[in-house]
């Protein structure tokens, strides 16, 4: 296990597009999984590829203090799992997993690795004949086979259907428990499930770092709050909510509150709201509530009817001014 430190700047110019610059500093402790969470186009993948050495960059990348930034990708000691698998289509599954064996000593047996990942029967198949979930398990095995010091994972679950994603996410959480890993995703559910720490990225820069608890419950800005799924209310537009804070937040600030913290209480509560919309989700319902001309969302197992007036409570310790 290794400590990874990166402070890099890289500029990418797509054909016909304006140049996009990533300028970010990260530190991943030994055995830790740091999730870089950000919307599409925030530069997460470019940051990961830059750390891997795929793009020219400025700045430093070190592992246990050992500088890596002047080394080519093959000498950085990383494993990399790609969103779209990047399996070699002209090689069998076994050849894919054993690809790095000749460049590393004492690599584990490909068949055993694949069996551990639940795809031991695919050894002689070619990648184009596999399902998405199978391909990603093979790609994971290929990376683990070189026993990397640090794993870099670029949205490895993004291209998978929901059941496959959940199953692989559980396996990934087990695998990454003992590995130093940098994992980028736009999916906050995945981030919360896998991360020891999270760095939120936007427009090529890290805008907040912290534990999942800090990121999700105490976002430092309305932007982070929005992206992590909190309700964000402009206090100047919601006097009844501002009154609940007893002067904690100025009227030019915002308050963030998780939807799961908002409580619906029949006829009583901190304030009254109108039920604007009810959307049934897997095991619960997402309820959109309107008051003071603003809306917030809440979850309810037994949702009220649309158009009804309900009492709404906001636990004070879950209201976070940002």
């Amino acid at each position: 296990m290794s400590l990874l430190q990166a402070d890099v700047a890289s500029t990418f110019t797509a054909d016909g597009a304006e140049a996009f610059t990533v300028d970010a500093s990260l530190e991943v402790d030994s055995g830790e999984t740091l999730v870089v969470l950000g919307p599409s186009g925030s530069g997460k993948t470019l940051l990961l590829e830059t750390i891997a050495g795929f793009h020219d960059h400025e700045g430093v990348v070190t592992r246990d203090g050992d500088p890596l930034h002047d080394r080519p990708p093959e000498q950085r000691g990383f494993g990399f799992v790609f969103q779209d698998y990047a399996l070699f289509p002209h090689m069998t599954v076994r050849e894919n997993v054993e690809y790095g064996a000749r460049y590393h000593e004492g690599t584990p047996d490909a068949a055993a690795l694949l069996t551990d990942l639940g795809v031991g029967d695919l050894l002689d198949r070619y990648p184009p004949t596999l399902s998405g979930g199978e391909r990603q398990r093979v790609a994971l095995a290929r990376s683990l086979a070189v026993e990397p010091d640090v794993m870099l994972l670029d949205e490895p679950l993004a291209a998978l259907d929901v059941p496959t994603r959940q199953s692989l996410r559980d396996d990934l959480a087990d695998i990454l428990a003992d590995v130093t890993a940098l994992y980028v995703t736009h999916n906050r559910t995945t981030a919360r499930a896998i991360a020891d720490r999270i760095a939120v990225m936007r427009d090529g820069r890290v805008v907040q770092r912290g534990s999942p608890e800090e990121i999700f419950e105490r976002p430092e800005s309305p932007t982070v709050a929005n992206f992590t799924g909190s309700n964000v209310v402009d206090l100047s537009a919601a006097p009844s909510l501002a009154a609940l804070l007893n002067g904690d937040g100025s009227l030019d600030s915002h308050v963030a509150v998780r939807p799961e913290a908002v409580r619906l209480n029949g006829g009583s509560g901190d304030l009254e709201a109108t039920v604007e919309r009810v959307v049934r989700e897997d095991a619960t319902s997402r309820v959109t509530l309107a008051f003071d001309g603003v809306t917030v969302e809440a979850f309810a197992d037994e949702p009220p009817d649309e158009g009804a007036t309900v009492g709404v409570s906001f636990p004070r310790d879950r209201l976070h001014v940002c």
Binding site: E49, A52, G53, F54, P72, P73, E74, R76, F78, G79, F80, F82, D84, A86, L87, F88, P89, H90, Y99, G100, R102, Y103, H104, Y126, P127, P128, T129, R142, S143, V146, L152
Partner: protein, 324 residues
Amino acid sequence: MATETERRFDGKRLGRTPQVLAFILVQAVAFAATYTAGHPTWYAYFMIGSTAVTAYLLDGSSFAVASATISSVLLVALGLPLFLFVARQQPSIIAEKAVSPDVHRMLYLGVYGPLLAAIVSLLLGIPLAHLLAEGFAGQPLVESLVDLPLVVPHSVAGILILFGFGKGGAFPQLSILGTMVGVVLAMVFVSAPYAVNATREAFEAIDDRLSYASRIHGANRWETFRRVTGPLAVRGMVTGGVLAWARAVSEFGAVAVVAYSVEFFYLPAGEKVTTQHAPVFVYSTYLQGGLAESGAVAFILLGVSALIFLVVRYLTNDTSGGIA
């Protein structure tokens, strides 16, 4: 892996095979009948009309009928000369030319010279194609230089080669006038763009992430080329080689300027002989022997070229299904 759409499309094509064969058979019979009757013009009208009717029966829309009818006019312009060329050959002259040692030498040079040119074009063109696919500063200038032979009149290409590599050129010790070196140089000049561009397209079609995956798992750039990008681009390289070879086979202008007659080592006889590159030979035969003799030589050349083309296509046809 083939997508569902691709599978359905393939199924549709396979299902239409009998219709395609029936259409070809009808066309062949119609051509034979009109030619035998001494009115090949009638076949031109028949082909256009039958195409319009077939489009109407298969599709029914006015757009399809109009597209097919207009297209058939072009196909008549392209196909009719070929059909009449084949039909009007005199087997006795073909047989006579087929056993002629002069024709054998011409065929040998006509296959061997372009083969050398295609190999040289590929060996020197693959690294360039790889660089162009990756991109570099000043790339548009290099691209223009690569594509220059496509727009330069080929006799001019021959003149350029004489200026560049002939007497007083860059390599005075190089003898190119009437030599195999000159022939291959002329052929490389006109055919290299095909080798470079086809190979470049193959490299460009490879996802960058496959190279990244190779590098991050320990392979350096040479190994990545040898194990991943090279094998994945090999079909493009073969296509480029075949195109370069075919282009070199058909080259007249540049070769005629640099080496109208060429001396080379003729392996079957074990000695040096002098002959002309195939298109030059056909032209020379036309000037000396007329249309019938040059037609017979051209017929043999066409047959050999088509045969080689089909063999290469067959050998390079992807049957593994493993690459996607």
